[in-house]
């Protein structure tokens, strides 16, 4: 048990002394997840809103497909994205393999279904009285759509946080697309996997603590945001 206690102590030591290798992984994680979550929200919120708000033929099938994507294993996403962006793939010329943008693309594929599905659920769950109220207060269709999205904002924020949690905690995509290159594409999760494999628990635990801290900051930010908006 001693090595676990030692690991926790060393974790704080690494963080307090500003260990460059640890912080490199932290910043790489922040870069990839910031890019992927931004892209997934830009794509996922309008798509989810459309899916939840409008009635169209094949809606149920689309919904089932999106919900199925929620269970996508990270390695499967990694495999597909790898196939597309490797030198032999159709997007090989973009040079995304083993880069931070490459990881971000794959994470976007991974988490966008979460944003789409949870946003659609939030919109579908809106109170019918809200629509009647908006109409009777004189709103046109555009205003009703905008106000509906605003009424669902807490659920959409929760969708964003859930998606962020998925992006920051995944390891398969970062490993396969990023390659776990030290100082370059090594993220917190890939570093933990590597250090644990090497038997260096202290660095692994340190990075685990950082991961938990980041999750805490994001959720606390959500609570603050909910009180303000």
């Amino acid at each position: 048990m001693g090595y676990i206690t030692d690991g926790i102590l060393k974790a704080f030591q690494l963080l307090v002394t500003g260990d460059p290798e640890t912080y490199s992984a932290v910043f790489t994680t922040l870069k990839t997840t910031s890019l992927s979550i931004t892209a997934s929200l830009i794509i996922g919120i309008p798509a989810g809103f459309f899916l939840g708000y409008r009635e169209f033929r094949g809606k149920r099938q689309v919904r089932t497909f999106v919900d199925t994507l929620l269970a996508l294993p990270t390695v499967v996403v990694g495999l597909f994205v790898y196939a597309f962006i490797s030198r032999r793939g159709p997007l090989g010329s973009l040079g995304l393999l083993f880069t931070i943008p490459g990881i971000a693309v794959a994470q976007t594929v991974l988490v966008t279904p979460i944003v789409v599905s949870l946003t659609a659920t939030a919109i579908e769950g809106l109170d019918e009285r809200m629509r009647v109220t908006l109409i009777t207060l004189g709103a046109d269709r555009f205003r009703i759509a905008l106000a509906s999205l605003r009424e669902a904002r807490y659920a959409v924020l929760t969708a964003a946080v859930t998606a962020y949690g998925r992006a920051i905690s995944e390891v398969g995509v970062s490993m396969m697309i990023g390659g776990n290159i030290k100082w370059h594409t090594r993220t917190i999760t890939t570093a933990i996997a590597l250090e644990t494999g090497k038997g260096d628990f202290s660095v692994g635990i340190a990075l685990g603590v950082v991961l938990l801290l980041l999750a805490f900051v994001v959720n606390w930010g959500l609570i603050v945001l909910k009180k303000r908006v």
Partner: protein
């Protein structure tokens, strides 16, 4: 061309699945009028109100609004008609934003704060205390008042209210009634109200229509008696009340027929009458009494085994009988006084 008739309904029907149907052969409502709809839950009042609020367009038949077919009216007409739901919805914003929202949608931002504060005061909510509160920081009665303020601030031509005083405390109900009466006096708004608060409904409405089973079955304080009716001897039909008393009518056309009993057809007695030809002698308790300004008579509501009977008697009779709420009385009417609705 100006139309004094605001609504004209002809052969209007609305189906809600297989179960419920609204059927209005003809109804006209003039501008500036005040119309009350009374009837039991599920009778079709809310559906009718939604149709009049131009929210429900899945009906068949004809509805003319201001002389124009309501089916073809665009969004702009919605700014003239506003509707308060029985269970209102507040937007997830502050009270101020809730009341201001309709004005902002209309682009009426001039004097916004003043207008919103004024509307909040109409419904008895101090803007200094309530304007900044969030939607979830007000009670049920206050929420209803906020929702009413958000309609009143729009200064609509037609104000349609579904049970505006239901499920709120007495203070909120009083504030709501005052605010509605105020806008009616100041703006001459056309009022359409569905309410179980019959005393107030008769007070504020020029015409009260009684709705039952999706049909307008009577006017004013007419008593509506629902089936099921059981055939009895001597060409009579009867209906059993929960306390075991029976109501007799002359041969009901159908087991579920609806009967109308005019208030003036009812005789009130202090003692159980005997040796009279009337079939119906029912004991009950006086629930409410109020002066009917239109007829200059006294309206008496008598509770008989959970069913309210409206009676219309003279001042002299009311004084002679020493009627007071809570007093036990006997209600007498002939079986032939029940008029069957088709």
């Amino acid at each position: 061309m100006t139309h004094t008739m605001l609504y004209r309904l002809q052969k209007l029907t609305f189906r809600y699945g297989e179960q419920f149907e609204l059927d209005i052969p003809s109804l006209m409502m003039e501008k500036g009028g005040s119309f009350g709809f009374a009837g039991p839950n599920g009778s079709g009042k809310t559906t009718l109100l939604k149709i009049l609020a131009l929210l429900e367009k899945g009906y068949e038949g004809c509805l003319l609004f201001n002389g124009r077919d309501a089916q073809g009216l665009g969004d702009t007409v919605r700014t003239k008609v506003t509707y308060l739901l029985q269970d209102p919805y507040l937007l997830k914003r502050s009270v101020f934003e809730n009341v201001a929202w309709g004005l902002k949608v209309r682009g009426e931002r001039h004097g916004l704060r003043h207008r919103v504060n004024e509307a909040l005061q109409w419904v008895g909510l101090d803007p200094k205390i309530y304007a900044s509160r969030r939607w979830n920081e007000v009670s049920g009665g206050e929420a209803k008042r906020v929702a009413l303020a958000s309609r009143l601030v729009l200064r609509p031509q037609v104000l349609i209210l579904d049970e505006p005083t239901a499920n709120v405390d007495r203070k909120s109900a009083l504030r709501i009634r005052n605010a509605i009466e105020r806008i009616r006096e100041e703006d001459g708004v056309t009022l359409v109200i569905a309410s179980h608060d019959e005393v107030w409904l008769h007070d504020i409405s020029g015409l009260v229509l009684r709705v039952s089973g999706g049909r307008i079955v009577g006017e004013g304080t007419d008593n509506i008696i629902h089936g099921p009716w059981i055939s009895d001897v001597s060409d009579l039909s009867k209906k059993k009340l929960p306390d075991g008393q029976w109501i007799y009518g002359a041969c009901a056309p159908h087991v579920h027929s609806v009967a109308v009993l005019k208030p003036s057809s009812i005789i009130i007695s202090k003692k159980p009458p005997s040796e009279i030809s009337a079939q119906n002698i029912l004991s009950g308790v006086v629930a409410h009494m109020w002066e009917d300004s239109a007829s200059e008579k006294v309206r008496v509501e008598i509770d008989i085994s959970g069913t309210t009977f409206n009676c219309l008697i003279t001042h002299y009779a009311a004084e002679d009988l020493k009627l007071l709420p809570g007093k036990k009385v006997w209600v007498v009417f002939k079986a032939s006084s029940l008029l069957w609705q088709q």
